[in-house]
Structure formats: C-alpha cells, structure tokens
Amino acid sequence: MSAGGDHIVSPKIYVTIWLILLAFTGITVWAAFQHFGIFNPIVALAIACTKATLVILFFMHVKYSPKMIALVIGCGLFFLSILMVLTCADYISRAWAT
C-alpha cells in the first residue's frame, strides 16, 4: 500500500464539506423544534451520522486512503454496536420476562 495521506484534497472540497456541515447543524436544530414524535431522535441521529461520515470521508481522508483504514473503522463500529445492542437487548427484554 502506498502512503495514503499524500493525496492532496482541494480546499474547495473542504469548504463545500464545511458548508454542508453547517447546513446540517442548522437543520438538526430546526428539526429538534418540530414535533416528529418518535422520529425526532431518529432524524437527529441520522443527521449526526451523515455529518460524521462526511468528516471521516473528507476531512479525515478516508475516501482517499487504503481500504484497510475503512476496515479498521468498520471493525470499531461493529464492536461498538455489539456493546450497545447486546446491553440494550437486556434492558428492553427485561420487561417481557416474568
């Protein structure tokens, strides 16, 4: 694998991403004041995930880096989801058990 970081990203892309991130910040604040019921947290988290993905892909250069880096991130998120899902599974299903 070659040195991944040497790919030079144009500042235009950075600024675009930056603007999108700011826009999403505005949207998420706006959305929080709307009454979407159960969708409120979902919308908020979806926006947060989008923003995070943009930062990872462009600011952190993962889009231009070797696949291995993406694999490492995926691995970390996978184990994070194990922690979350299995712990929550206990709390959610406690109510079922009698």
């Binding site: 926006i47 947060a48 462009f58 600011f59 922690l83 929550c88 709390y91």
Partner: protein, 241 residues
C-alpha cells in the same frame, strides 16, 4: 543450522534519511504504520466513548421524561454555537494539513493557530455552560436540585421523582462533555507543541505525518461532539403536545 528460510536481501541498515526510524525500511512504511496506528488508537477512543453512549442510551430509554426535562434546561444556543465553532476548527485543521502537504510553512502555522483559537473559544463557551449549570444547581452531587431554577423562575417544578432522575442525565452530560473537553484540552496542548514545531519548520512536505495524525485526532473529537450535540441538547425541544 538450516538457513533455508532466509537469504540475504539487503543490509539491515541502509538508512540515509535521518527522519527514518531504524525499524522501518522506507519512509512510506513509516508513514503508513503511524497512520494505521493512529486509526487503531481512534478505535480505542470510539470504544471509550462507546461505554458512555451505551449508558446514555439505556438511561434515556428508562427515564425519557427526565431526559426531556433536563435537556431542555440546557442552553441550546451555546450548544449550537459550539457546534459551529468546532466544525469551523475542523475546517481550519483540514486546511492546516493541506498547507503542510504543500509545504506552506506560514500558512500551516496560521491554520494551526486558527484551530487553537477556535478550540479555545469552544472551551470558553463550555466553561460558561458549566458555570451556568453550577449556578442552577444542576451539577450532580450534594447540591443538586433540578427544580431550584424552575422554582426561582416561577415555573412549574417537575415531579420529585423525575427531578431525581434528571441527576442521571446531568451525570452523563458532565461525564460525556467532560471527557470530550478533556480530549480538547489535551489536543490544545499538542497543538501548541505542533505550532511551535511548525514555526521552526519541522514539517516539510512528506514529513508532516505528525500534523496529519493530529488532524485525525482533532476531527475525531469533532465527530464526538457532532453526536453529543443532538444527544444532550436536542432530546426534545418540540413544545410538548
């Protein structure tokens, strides 16, 4: 003794480049390794915050009314401004790495200083928020009283049991933002070091891995905040029913 597995390839030490550490064969390998290492480190950070996020998720499900009440008591303006500040600092950081890649020393120093300033603004606003919470008796512990502020303002106090549970929200709030702020402070420290080194010209093109890795760290801290903001400030701002 069999030597069947090995033959001579090259003398072990054929390094000319003083910045190439002895354990590496090439600058590329060195750069790859340190970047890879940085990413693995960031994974540990994900898991570190993951424990807090997990706790948050569980308690939010258990005590939703308390989380709504407590989240609403936080100043959304400060949170939103801080989000913007941090996103801007991510941009300046990315621009810093970009300047380093181009070998623009003065620009690099400029962007790093800008990042440091924005980081400082973030921490300053954070301190204001913490102070507000302190004044409002919203810091978990002996002086915690969620209804203190509401009673003072003549608002309807929340039921006592909900008020107790808001303590959990604030515990998580302070643990999460506190850990995040701690990362910011460590980051600022490293940043000062980087600025000094960059000013001395220690990061020519192709040898700015340190700047790049620090950039990864800084963006990671930004990402954590991107999640903290909706989770802590935006639980539910919509007028209830």
């Amino acid at each position: 003794m069999s030597d069947s597995q090995t033959t001579t390839l090259q003398p072990a030490h054929q390094h000319h480049d003083p910045s190439l550490l002895v354990q590496f064969d090439s600058a590329d390998q060195q750069k790859d390794a340190s970047q890879f290492g940085m990413w693995v480190f960031l994974i540990t950070e994900i898991m570190f915050f993951g424990g807090l996020f997990g706790a948050y998720l569980i308690y939010r499900n258990l005590y939703n009314p308390a989380f709504v009440a407590a989240s609403t008591s936080i100043d959304i303006r400060l949170g939103a401004v801080n989000t913007v500040v941090l996103i801007c600092s991510s941009l300046t950081m990315a621009m810093g790495v970009h300047s380093a890649a181009l070998g623009a020393r003065k620009l690099l120093v400029f962007w790093l200083v800008a990042t440091l300033v924005l980081g400082g603004v973030f921490l300053g606003i954070k301190a204001v928020e913490y102070h507000e919470k302190y004044v409002e008796h919203h810091i978990p512990g002996a002086n915690f009283d969620f209804n203190y502020e509401r009673v003072k303002n003549g608002e309807q106090p929340v039921p006592a049991d909900v008020a107790t549970q808001t303590s959990i929200f604030f515990a998580l709030y302070f643990a999460m933002t506190g850990m995040h702020a701690m990362h910011m402070i460590i980051g600022a420290g490293i940043l000062i070091f980087l600025i000094w080194r960059a000013y001395k010209g220690a990061y020519p093109p192709h040898h700015y891995t340190m700047v790049e890795n620090f950039g990864l760290y800084w963006h990671f801290v930004d990402i954590i905040w991107i999640f903290l903001f909706p989770l802590l400030y935006l639980v539910s701002r919509s007028p209830v029913h």
